[in-house]
């Protein structure tokens, strides 16, 4: 599966000559992409490369500076119940008198509107997302009493509980240990199997190579295409200024300026 749209279906995400940035300052220009239902796109790049800026533009949190960005064929941000976004920074929340369950329940607000009571189906989606992220037992714990990794899983469960068709995840693996990372990946796979489209900003090259599409960013689009073919030592070198490969059982780190070997 290439992730690109075939036939006459409206793509979930489509960008043409898109410039993204803050204020008037463009961070990345000339972005072209198209993503269909059930496809995954990895955004790979160092800090400041434009991953989060592009994700926020897809979410409708930032306006496109130039070109076009369409989500479900319309303006980003127009379909709150169909799109879930997990941001990178969660500040100023520890003093809120909220339990883990209350945080995940917020995912249902776009569907419920201002006053409608949550149905059994809403509660089921909330419970299911929490179970999936392995935090079912923490439902009644106050948010302030959770560890960083547990809080990150609460935030991911919030994104999942939306039941959205498009998941925009900004470095969801931050603060997660190896086991929780596996839990996250299986949750993403389940969302894709259910027909969801996932865009994930990540530092995990291995995971990115498994995505239908990968976009390498370094304040410009370094490479874009099927995940397994665009993540080459050369593109990684251009993206991060450093890359690595296995040579006779040892990891060889290659930097832009010169090369040296590091044991193990």
């Amino acid at each position: 599966m290439s992730g690109a749209v075939t036939g006459g279906a409206v793509p979930v995400l489509a960008a043409g000559r898109l410039s993204v940035g803050y204020g008037r300052k463009a961070v990345v220009e000339g972005i072209e992409l198209e993503l269909g239902r059930g496809a995954t796109l990895a955004l790979v790049g160092a800090n400041g490369s434009g991953k989060s800026t592009l994700l926020k533009t897809m979410a409708g949190l930032l306006p496109a500076l130039a070109g076009s960005m369409k989500v479900f064929g319309g303006r980003p941000g127009r379909n709150p119940s169909r799109v879930a976004y997990l941001g990178q920074f969660h500040s100023n929340q520890l003093m809120l008198p909220l339990r883990a369950l209350d945080v995940v329940r917020m995912a249902r607000y776009p569907t419920l509107g201002l006053m409608r009571r949550a149905t059994a189906e809403d509660e089921r989606m909330v419970r299911e997302a929490m179970e999936r992220m392995g935090i079912g037992g923490l439902a009644r714990e106050p948010l302030s009493g959770l560890s960083g990794g547990q809080r990150q899983r609460v935030h991911i469960a919030q994104a999942l509980a939306r039941g959205a068709e498009l998941l925009l995840l900004d470095e969801p693996e931050a603060n997660l240990d190896a086991e929780s990372k596996e839990t996250l990946l299986s949750a993403v796979r389940a969302a894709v199997q259910a027909g969801g489209t996932v865009v994930i900003a990540t530092h995990d090259i291995k995971e990115a190579s498994r995505c239908d599409q990968a976009m390498l960013l370094a304040q410009r689009v370094v490479a874009y295409g099927p995940g397994c073919s665009v993540l080459t030592p050369d593109t990684l070198l251009s993206t991060f200024g450093v890359t690595a490969r296995m040579e006779e059982g040892r990891v060889v780190v290659v930097e832009r300026e010169h090369r040296h070997e590091c044991g193990e």
Binding site: G60, G77, G87, H90, N92, Y109, L112, E141, E173, N175
Partner: protein, 292 residues
Amino acid sequence: MNALVDPFLTNGFMANALLGGLIVAVACGVVGTLVVLRGLAFIGDALSHGVLPGIAVAMLLGYPGILGAAVGSAVMIGGIGYLTRKSSLSNDTAIGLFFVGMLALGVIIVSRSSSFSGDLVRVLFGELLGISRTDILIQAAATVLILAAAIVFHRPFLLLCFSPEQADMAGYPSRLFHGIMLAMIALTVIVSFQTVGTMLVFGMLLAPAAASALFARRISTMMAGASALGAVSVYAGLLASYHFDLAAGAAITLTATLLFFGSFAVSRLARRREGPPAAGTASPSGSSAVLP
């Protein structure tokens, strides 16, 4: 026992003061909770002082002070928003500039007018013991409006306190609901300046909500707790004012502040008795192992 109830039964002005004060306590408990959770203490402080020139000008021209307070707070909220958007200055710098500018303007207007000295004390410290039926009705109407907004908009407000980005993502524009929150603070300040005064209304917004935040585990209980603590402050403050001949507004605000520090001490003691948090559920290093 009689000393606790009689002052309110035998004096009409004390009964009015209690009723007006209780209504203010409810409004301040609800709005103060939003102020504490959303971190709006500075703009609340600025609003409560920055309405002074509006009130002064209105009184000089023979209009009700409440009208001037409304215009003053609208100028401040609009000005702070405009300055923050159009300059690279931070929000609190913009708030500070309007705060001192408006306060200075208020003092100059008041000092240029010879007939104002008594009125200024009334504006700053309120006139709870001289509150009229009309004042109480206006306060009750404003408090009903505030309660209705808190109930109808509880989801967008919660999202906004949690994360403005998530409010936007859920289809509740964060700027709009931030503006509604500011309008609720302004409304509370405007209708409370007659009871506790512009100097002290901020104490009623902050102290009961902060005390309630130490114990509450839900936002609705935090609002209810803050309103209850505010009500206790009004009652105890009025009694102290009656028996010991103290300024009513100041006695109420001081009681609220003392209640906060009392709650703080109790919460510290309770935490010490509970001991360290159980491993696995609340340890900050719990499962946040370093990435492989």
